[in-house]
Symmetry: C2
Subunit: 319 residues, 2 copies
């Protein structure tokens, strides 16, 4: 077991923790988290509305270069609503990957649609464009009203790849296949805030994208998610559906669709904004950890090959 | 419009606000809100788990005298899961009231079930037991596998009354009717934390009850809800379903049912615990406001009759 001990020693040295348990992820709070939280209490704006909600939405739209970002209660809710806005209705199928958290498939199920799983690529851990193409060539049939699965007879209403652990899948190829077939692309970018492919942000490739701010993500809102879209109308609809589809009115409550109580509370947005302000420093810290792992596995412990990050190569983190 | 001015003057005097806009509801933070929030940052426990989640669940179970309380992301989610645990499945009907926030009917729809609306009582604004009985006598048919609506052919899977603005509906009578017909009772107690009927807490009469801690409630978590039950197994299942139905395991993710990402983040629970510790003082403050309204409408401005609160009479707030 000498090899394991070697690796363990490397990790303990890296994290400067000689004895204690090293958790997989711990949120780091080095920004204005406390200041912003106290401000929500002083202002009494802890709930449905508040400036922090607006601020995190603006930050995220700007950061991912999308037209509209909508803060919601968690990443699962973000995927659920993104799929609905992409046109998924009960009985449809959504092509996704099995290597993901259960939320991806659950979000499909909440729309009363069915997940269809295709393989991931070994080197990205995300949906394989080859597997997607093969599946569509074997089972897909283009008709006037969409692409149907000839085996099940169901409409293939969306493609939902996931960027595993923030590694980008071959999203540009997947996008081209979706365009070729005319199937809406929705990105489960839950783990990928800050990840890019050829300079473009995760979440911004498809019709809509979904991020998560659970405690195990690069930044956290305690619990939270964000939907992004480059389609201003869909972005507006995302806000509408996630705030119970209530028509604006000073006192009447008129809801003209089945909406959701999915808004992010202002107190969670306050925490998230402080985290967003430090996002780049967390990205650099993670890149530095990657660099050290890379050196360890390429120079010291060559029996395991570390997964390459194309973007890390491009950006000069390693090389 | 002299009368309106009179009433307006009374309200302005009551709230010691001569000129400015008086909001319908503002959260009040006079407890340990700031201390507990800062503690979540210092401990890094802001997300899925943490002592505040445990504490608010214990408080609520104790306060409502129920066996188990499960903290969730909002009141809508609480109703949705409570209905599912009561046995509501797609295609069923749930009897409820139309005088409520849209969440009540939405929670039914999320279970792919159908709301059936019966009248409320004029003096409680909550579901009328007479209307419920009439409906069941006209349309209900007891069969081996449940009570069916003879008009639609659907199973009536639950009765879901709501305690409007915290006024208790005639819950004991409704409970008896449900027992007589063998239909599960679920209470939408979203607005009724602290309300009682004959000494028993709102939320504790049915199989399960749901509370909300949105910003407009007597106490707030920013956003939050709690499911309560006197059935220990259902309480345990509520926890399980609202934490993605994940089987306990140190690292494997095995989910054996369609669960939800509905847990309350620890940061919201921290705020809520501080609010819970002050709940009695808020209840007394509201009782005092009610007393002054009561005096105004019974002595000064007799053209409008204020709704009586039976419990207020019982508890000596007025009389």
């Amino acid at each position: 077991m000498m090899k394991t001990n070697h690796f363990a020693s490397f990790v303990r040295e890296l994290y400067k923790e000689p004895n204690e348990f090293i958790p997989l992820h711990v949120p780091v709070f080095r920004g204005k988290e406390k200041e912003y939280l106290l401000d929500t209490i002083d202002s009494t704006f802890v709930s449905s509305v508040g400036k922090y909600v607006d601020d995190v939405e603006k930050f995220c739209a700007n950061y991912t270069d999308t037209k509209k970002a909508v803060a919601v209660v968690n990443g699962t809710a973000a995927i659920q609503v993104a799929l609905r806005l992409a046109g998924v209705i009960p009985g449809d199928e959504v092509i996704t990957q099995a290597l993901t958290f259960v939320a991806t498939a659950n979000a499909i199920a909440y729309n009363n649609a069915h997940p269809v799983f295709v393989d991931v690529d070994l080197d990205t851990m995300g949906m394989s464009p080859d597997a997607l193409r093969s599946f569509l060539e074997e089972f897909g049939e283009k008709r006037e009203d969409g692409v149907f699965n000839t085996k099940t007879g169901k409409l293939i209403a969306a493609v939902l790849p996931m960027h595993t652990f923030g590694f980008m899948c071959r999203i540009t190829e997947i996008k081209h296949i979706c365009q070729e077939w005319g199937i809406p692309l929705v990105e489960d970018a839950a783990e990928a805030l800050g990840s890019k492919s050829e300079g473009q942000s995760a979440g911004s490739f498809g019709l809509l994208g979904a991020f998560s701010f659970n405690g195990n993500k690069i930044i956290t809102a305690g619990g939270g998610g964000i939907i992004v879209s480059n389609d201003a109308y869909l972005g507006q609809q995302a806000k509408y559906l996630t705030t119970t589809a209530k028509k604006p009115h000073p006192y009447e409550y008129f809801h003209d669709e089945l909406g959701y109580n999915f808004r992010m509370p202002n107190i969670n947005a306050a925490l998230l904004l402080a985290q967003m302000e430090k996002l780049e420093s967390y990205r650099l810290a993670k890149a530095n950890v990657y660099k050290q792992y890379h050196e360890f596995f390429s120079k010291v412990y060559k029996k395991i090959e570390l997964m390459p990050i194309p973007e890390a190569l491009h950006s000069g983190i390693i090389g």
